[in-house]
Amino acid sequence: MTDGISRFVYVTYIRTTPEELWAALTQPEFTKQYWFGVTLETDWKAGSPWKMVLPDGLVTDEGEVAECDPPRRLALRWRHLWRPELAAEGEAFCVIELEPLEGAVKLTINHSIPHPGAKLIEAVGGGWPRILSNLKSLLETGQVVLKSKPAG
């Protein structure tokens, strides 16, 4: 990346509605099921703080809600706290967009960090690909594919 920013884009198509997907992204009873027990604690208002909490109470990430436009767009300022080498990569920015398309919803996650070669995004919470595969599976079939976070 020539501008020194690491950008990651994740896209999945889920056969559900924007409202159901929005609920799955923002409500703890849903996130716990596909995000390896994680809950996001916030009131989902622009400017409000949020924190990511593991089942044992450990807060691994925090930030502020930059934009919240249900059920279309969510933007989060994102700071990792737990692993020093990842925390050193600086504050990240995560934009989540939902677009309805022919009976499905296109979910796009844009995660960027002003740090070349950043390792944060794959590392956090089992990595977006695994989280999104679980989310898709949960919404489409009622079951997650990976119950626990794989080692590493």
Binding site: L132, L138, K147
Partner: protein
């Protein structure tokens, strides 16, 4: 998004190489992806279109440039499909959720 499209896209060595290059450095332009490949721009464009149709590559406009990103979610879906066979979770909450979400939704 069909798994057939993902497997077809991955069946070609040039397309796997393009994915490798995006894995090494995400967010490249067509011009950057063409560098060092003994292929025409048109041929690379066609391969990228196949990868995009399979959702393995996502392109986004940044100003005047179009950047290409590797999207590992479909590969993970494939892994999950078979891993899930050996790790079938049985959570009571999920059965209830399945029932609720499938009301009025068509599933195959």
């Amino acid at each position: 998004m069909s798994m057939d499209a993902v497997f077809r896209a991955l069946a070609d060595p040039v397309r796997r190489r393009l994915l490798d290059r995006l894995h090494a450095r995400n967010g490249q332009t067509l011009g950057e992806l063409c560098e060092g490949l003994d292929m025409t721009r048109q041929a690379v464009t066609k391969h990228l279109a196949v990868l995009e149709a399979a959702n393995l590559v996502v392109s986004q406009k940044r100003g005047r440039e179009k950047l290409h990103f590797i999207n590992p979610v479909p590969i993970n879906d494939i892994a999950g499909r078979w891993i899930g066979k050996f790790d079938a979770p049985r959570l009571a909450a999920l059965a209830e959720l399945k029932r609720k979400l499938e009301e009025g939704n068509g599933h195959d």
